[in-house]
């Protein structure tokens, strides 16, 4: 029904004010009036342990990158609660379509350290066959879509995937992660509008971590963050404290109910902070103050949940120490194994481009093999795959 007025009335959105849902304060105490979510002990421990394991994996792998053992890495430091809290609120068979900084969700679902390492080192056991840069994980059995570097492309895909889930009627939904920077891409708007029009069980989970590489969110959008955009699509929306695992868990749990029971999309904006650099190739000291980082360090999501667990008696200092030691050792041991493994076979250059290798591709490959046989020293990995003798001291790892 059209509501006519007879004086011009301009609006800016300032008429609304988005509240932020938060349950735990930085000391791990429930805020007054906050109700503890129905999160059983084992589930809470699983959530926490995945956050902790993610932090340790990130620390070790960043160090390995600095030692030159790895070509590239991306940490999720500071955002573990946003990612793992969301994953913990899903059914393990719900699809996750992530951006790239969501290794915590995979960790929560049980991706092994070996599986992480095989991808990071692009060895013969990497599911992606050494084709993508480090951190582009994927797992079919864990319902985690393989990461794609182009930003925001996964968002409309999540709408489509969830539409298929709705037609299949299996009671599952899709959750897609993206950053507040990626939300500027056209794909974001396309995805939200289509999901709302077609009533699709999808959760759009925005990690608002303050920065898109060096660009602060103040230079990314003029409005109050990403959440108010939902109004334009007539979509359910909630803004949540991204450093509060309990709040993220509860918000996502309820969002999932809306998605699956009502076939409606939900937008969640988790307010957090990227404590680490964008990637191993970035140095934040060029664009932000240390003091800003320090302020956010005090809101560490892992410490916050740890304090809550300790108070409940669901976790102990001893467990914390032994868990950290065990994980560090496991990461180092698996890293050593993974980096020693063979590279993917030469044939993986031409497989999976199409379901079947085309005759033209086979012809090009045969030509390449003849060339490598002629100059094996120049192509140590290919030569190794073809079982050719290579008379050189070339260290193939050094080429990464």
């Amino acid at each position: 029904m059209t509501n006519y007025v007879h004086q011009p009335l301009f609006m800016t959105g300032d008429e609304f004010s988005m509240a932020t849902f938060s349950l735990l304060d930085p000391e791990g105490e429930l805020y007054e009036g906050a109700r503890e979510p129905d999160l059983p002990r084992d589930h809470a421990r699983r959530l926490y342990q995945a956050m902790l394991a993610t932090r340790i994996l990130d620390e070790r792998m960043m160090a390995a990158q600095r030692q030159g053992r790895l070509s590239f890495y991306m940490q999720s430091t500071g955002e573990e609660a946003a990612v793992v809290g969301a994953a913990a609120a899903l059914d393990d068979a719900d699809m996750i379509m992530a951006q790239y900084r969501e290794q915590g969700a995979l960790m929560y679902r049980g991706f092994s350290i070996d599986e992480f390492m095989n991808q990071l080192f692009g060895n013969e056991l990497d599911y992606g066959k050494g084709r993508q840069m480090p951190i582009h994980y994927g797992s079919r059995k864990l319902h985690y879509m393989t990461i794609s570097s182009p930003l925001a492309t996964q968002i409309p895909q999540a709408t489509g995937y969830a539409y298929g889930q709705k037609l299949a009627g299996d009671g599952h939904c899709t959750l897609t992660f993206f950053g507040e920077g990626a939300a500027s891409e056209g794909d974001f708007h396309a995805a939200l509008n289509m999901a709302s029009v077609h009533q699709v069980p999808v959760i759009f989970f925005c990690r608002n971590n303050g920065y898109a590489i060096s660009t602060p969110s103040t230079e990314q959008f003029a409005a109050d963050g990403i959440a108010p955009r939902a109004f334009g699509y007539h979509m359910h929306v909630i803004r949540v404290d991204g450093n509060d695992a309990l709040a993220v868990y509860e918000a996502t749990r309820q969002a999932r109910q809306i998605a699956v029971e009502q076939n409606k999309p939900v937008l969640i904006e988790a307010m957090s902070y990227r404590l680490a650099a964008h990637s191993s190739s970035d140095d934040p000291s060029g664009y932000r103050a240390k003091s800003e980082e320090e302020a956010w360090r005090l809101k560490d999501p892992i410490l916050r949940m740890q304090k809550w667990l300790l108070k409940k008696g669901w976790w102990s200092e001893e467990e914390e120490t032994s868990q950290q030691e065990t994980l560090r050792r496991e990461v180092l041991d698996t890293m050593k194994r993974a980096e020693k493994r063979s590279p993917p076979p030469l044939e993986s250059l031409i497989t999976d481009v199409y379901a079947d290798i085309t005759p033209e591709l086979q012809r090009q490959f045969d030509q390449l093999k003849r060339h490598i046989r002629r100059y094996p020293e120049a192509y140590p990995r290919g030569a190794r795959s073809l079982d050719l003798e290579v008379n050189t001291s070339t260290d193939s790892q050094g080429e990464a």
Binding site: T146, P156, Q157, A158, Y161, L167, A190, D356
Partner: protein
């Protein structure tokens, strides 16, 4: 055997695919109750319901992004882009996503179920933005298949094959022929092979290669040439990626002469790819330079469309020059 125009043949193929498999889903701008601006999806919503044939918002990148996700989930999306001229907002989703989905995941995930249908080409007074032939942008993208039918019979058989093909297919429909091309089309289900060219006329003096609506134009030029006693061999490539070089090579080894014709501009057009391959594989057998008869290196015109297009007279002249070289 019933007679159909190309739209009816396409509609019939979609109908068969949807009846056979619940996972086949058709969508795009105006494809729902209206049946598409050209009516290729007429009555499909009526027959299969709104959840399997529907309108999308007006957002090409969203349509293909949605289609990629739906295909990854295991459905069989047939997405329509209303005009090939408007496919470019979806370029990223097609080139970086559809084409690389299987490869980048090591075959954990794929969008093989995806077919993108889109009308292309000129000759309908459509100007810059309703006439383009963008095939060469996509033939440069490993992981995609690019298919173009020349008549109703081919359209039905190739579309059914595309929908069932295990790789994502860009299916370019020559819109000038939508209603103009009429022919016998079997009512029943059949497929034509993807990746195989067809020799539609044998001859010994010169080979002409094309695809889609250009086959009709080549046909007219060949009639003129035959009147002058030039025996032409005519090949419809049908699939541009991966293309059937062997069939063209075999023909040129016999005729020693080759003309390739397409509506798209000359520079960077797919004819260049064919010419390069054929000179490499038939070098010592060539009697004259390989010739390309194409659109000009300009945007597609409106009022001077006739002058721009590589029509039968331009092709006929190229045939004469090649034979008299």
């Amino acid at each position: 055997m019933p007679t159909m125009n190309m739209l009816q043949a396409i509609n019939n193929a979609l109908d068969i695919a949807m009846a056979e498999d619940d996972k086949v889903i058709c969508f795009g701008e105006d494809v729902g109750v209206f049946g598409g601006v050209f009516r290729a999806t007429s009555h499909l919503q009526e027959k299969y319901g709104k959840s399997r044939c529907f309108n999308t918002p007006l957002v090409e990148q969203g349509i293909i992004g949605f289609a990629n996700g739906l295909a990854a989930q295991g459905s069989v999306p047939v997405a329509e882009i209303q005009f090939a001229d408007y496919i470019f907002p979806a370029f990223d989703q097609i080139v970086n996503e559809s084409a690389k989905f299987r490869y980048r995941s090591g075959d954990l995930f794929n969008v093989g179920g995806l077919t993108i249908r889109t009308p292309y080409g000129g000759g309908i007074a459509g100007g810059l933005y309703h006439s383009q032939s963008p095939e060469a942008y996509f033939t440069h993208t490993p992981g995609l298949k690019v298919v173009v039918p020349r008549n109703p019979y081919q359209a039905k058989g190739l579309l059914l094959a595309s929908i069932r093909d295990p790789d994502p297919v860009l299916f370019l429909e020559p819109k000038r022929l939508y209603r103009a091309s009429v022919g016998e089309v079997p009512q029943e289900d059949y497929q034509l092979p993807i990746g195989e060219a067809e020799v539609i006329k044998e001859g010994t003096d010169i080979t002409l290669v094309g695809w889609g609506a250009q086959m009709e134009v080549i046909g007219k030029a060949v009639e003129l040439a035959e009147e002058q006693g030039i025996a032409c061999e005519v090949i419809d490539l049908r699939t541009l990626l991966p293309w059937d070089a062997d069939t063209v090579v075999e023909s040129v080894l016999k005729t020693g002469r080759l003309i390739v014709s397409h509506e798209a501009p000359l520079t960077g057009g797919f004819a260049g790819e064919i010419a390069a391959t054929i000179q490499e594989r038939c070098f010592l057998y060539l009697e004259s330079p390989i010739t390309r008869v194409t659109g000009l290196d300009t945007p597609f015109p409106l009022v001077l469309e006739k002058e721009y297009l590589p029509d039968h007279l331009k092709i006929f002249e190229a045939i004469r020059e090649s034979v008299n070289f």
